[in-house]
């Protein structure tokens, strides 16, 4: 029998107050083992205070070929940014 252990993506919160961030992946048979392995592989020097693991096949990803259609519409919407609106100099705290 040669069945490969599934791949898990590992996310680590480096300290409270920060988001979990993707750090890499590893192989494990279940979530318990994935967490244990993530501890050993990715936090040998106090890199984290919290770990998330997600089996890779459960992640849906956008296709880079569609990036134009997905992300370009935001390019010409300068009015979504505060700098689009000119304020008189004497107006403070806005």
């Amino acid at each position: 029998m040669s069945k490969e252990w599934p791949i898990w993506e590992v996310f680590i919160r480096s300290k409270n107050g920060l988001d979990h961030r993707h750090v890499g992946s590893l192989h494990a048979t279940d979530s318990t083992m994935a967490l244990e392995n993530a501890r050993d592989v990715y936090t040998r020097r106090q890199e984290g205070v919290s770990i998330w693991v997600v089996e890779s096949i459960n992640i849906a990803a956008s296709n880079p070929d569609n990036s134009d259609a997905l992300f370009d519409p935001a390019i010409d919407k300068a009015y979504r940014h505060p700098t689009f609106y000119k304020m008189p100099k004497e107006v403070k705290h806005i």
Binding site: M1, S2, K3, E4, W5, I7, V23, G24, S25, L26, H27, T29, D30, M33, D40, V41, R44, R45, A61, N63, P64, D65
Partner: protein, 316 residues
């Protein structure tokens, strides 16, 4: 779009300094070259544990033992970061191991040399990790995202490896005459193989040009090697060790050290499998893989059973 146009668009992205991510389009050769280079690098980390693992139980003090243990554990981690980077290119972990175990894939030939004395732990940390750092610092800016990110993590961890090695050398060099000789002997044996780690001279290196174009490499083998010589010769002076090279000489004009001819015949012999420990290393990896088979299988069966039991309890 034609392949040639796609290739050009891809090259433009690289020239603009863009980073390539796993799901981006890439030329097949870029993918293959990366799989080869990243997996070779991963295998080197894994096989690299063997020569040092050999001394863990015989470390002279507890302090040395925990340091060496932590270093070797880091190398396992480095191998795992790199395997996972290689897998993003669509090759499986089992296939990568298969290539290592059958000798199809290469690893750094430095690990085919034996570790004969405790001083070798010093020489390896100082020289071999030192050479690896020079190469890896360059690779943190490589064009393939997952590889570059793995390199950043690895570089953060390497510095301790080199320092613990240098410290071992320093203590031996300040010890008894016999200890000093031990250090010099280790230095003599590891110096040339360390310089070979950067690969064949530029004139004979088949991959260099394409690799530079794709920013898989940002400096040539000879440039990196020169960097290693210039840095290390000064460090050897601090230790009071003699560089085993009668032709070594500071070149005022170049602003670099000139050094003697490297025995490339020896290098190719070791690469082709005839180094002192090639067989031993591959056998050790195969043994670990074969003897671990039942663990890998049992873990899957256990996980399946747990999942089935959970499904059942939900159904009830």
């Amino acid at each position: 779009m034609k392949d040639i146009e796609m290739d050009q668009l891809f090259q433009d992205r690289i020239d603009r300094g863009e980073v390539i991510e796993p799901r981006d389009w890439m030329p097949e050769k870029y993918r293959k070259t990366h799989i080869r280079q990243i997996s070779q690098h991963a295998h080197s980390e894994i096989v690299g544990m063997l020569p040092e693992g050999n001394w863990i139980t015989r470390a002279p003090t507890l302090r040395r033992k925990v340091a060496l243990l932590a270093k070797v554990q880091d190398e396992a981690g480095h191998g795992l970061y790199l395997y996972s980077a290689a897998e993003t290119l669509g090759i499986s972990r089992d296939e990568l191991f298969h290539q290592l175990h059958t000798g199809k894939a290469k690893y750094s030939s430095i690990f085919n040399y034996p570790t004969l004395s405790w001083a070798d732990m010093g020489a390896i940390g100082w020289l071999v990790d030192g050479a690896a750092i020079i190469n890896q610092v360059m690779l943190t800016r490589t064009s393939y995202g997952p590889y570059a990110r793995a390199m950043v993590k690895i570089c953060k961890e390497e510095s301790f490896h080199q320092r613990q090695g240098f410290e071992i050398m320093m203590i031996l060099c300040n010890g008894t005459e016999v200890q000093k000789q031990m250090a010099q002997d280790a230095f003599n044996r590891w110096w040339w193989p360390s310089l070979m780690m950067f690969g064949p001279p530029d004139a004979e290196s088949t991959h260099t040009e394409q690799s530079m174009k794709w920013k898989i490499k940002l400096k040539t083998n000879d440039e990196l090697r020169q960097q290693m010589v210039d840095i290390t010769v000064e460090q050897a002076k601090v230790l009071g060790l003699t560089v085993p090279d009668p032709d070594l000489k500071w070149n005022e004009e170049r602003g670099h050290y000139d050094f003697g001819k490297i025995d490339w015949d020896e290098f190719w012999q070791v690469v082709k499998g005839y180094g002192p420990c090639n067989k031993e290393r591959i056998n050790a990896r195969n043994k670990a893989w074969d003897e671990g088979a039942w663990v890998r299988e049992a873990a899957i069966v256990y996980a399946d059973k747990q999942a089935a039991a959970k499904d059942l309890s939900i159904a009830v």
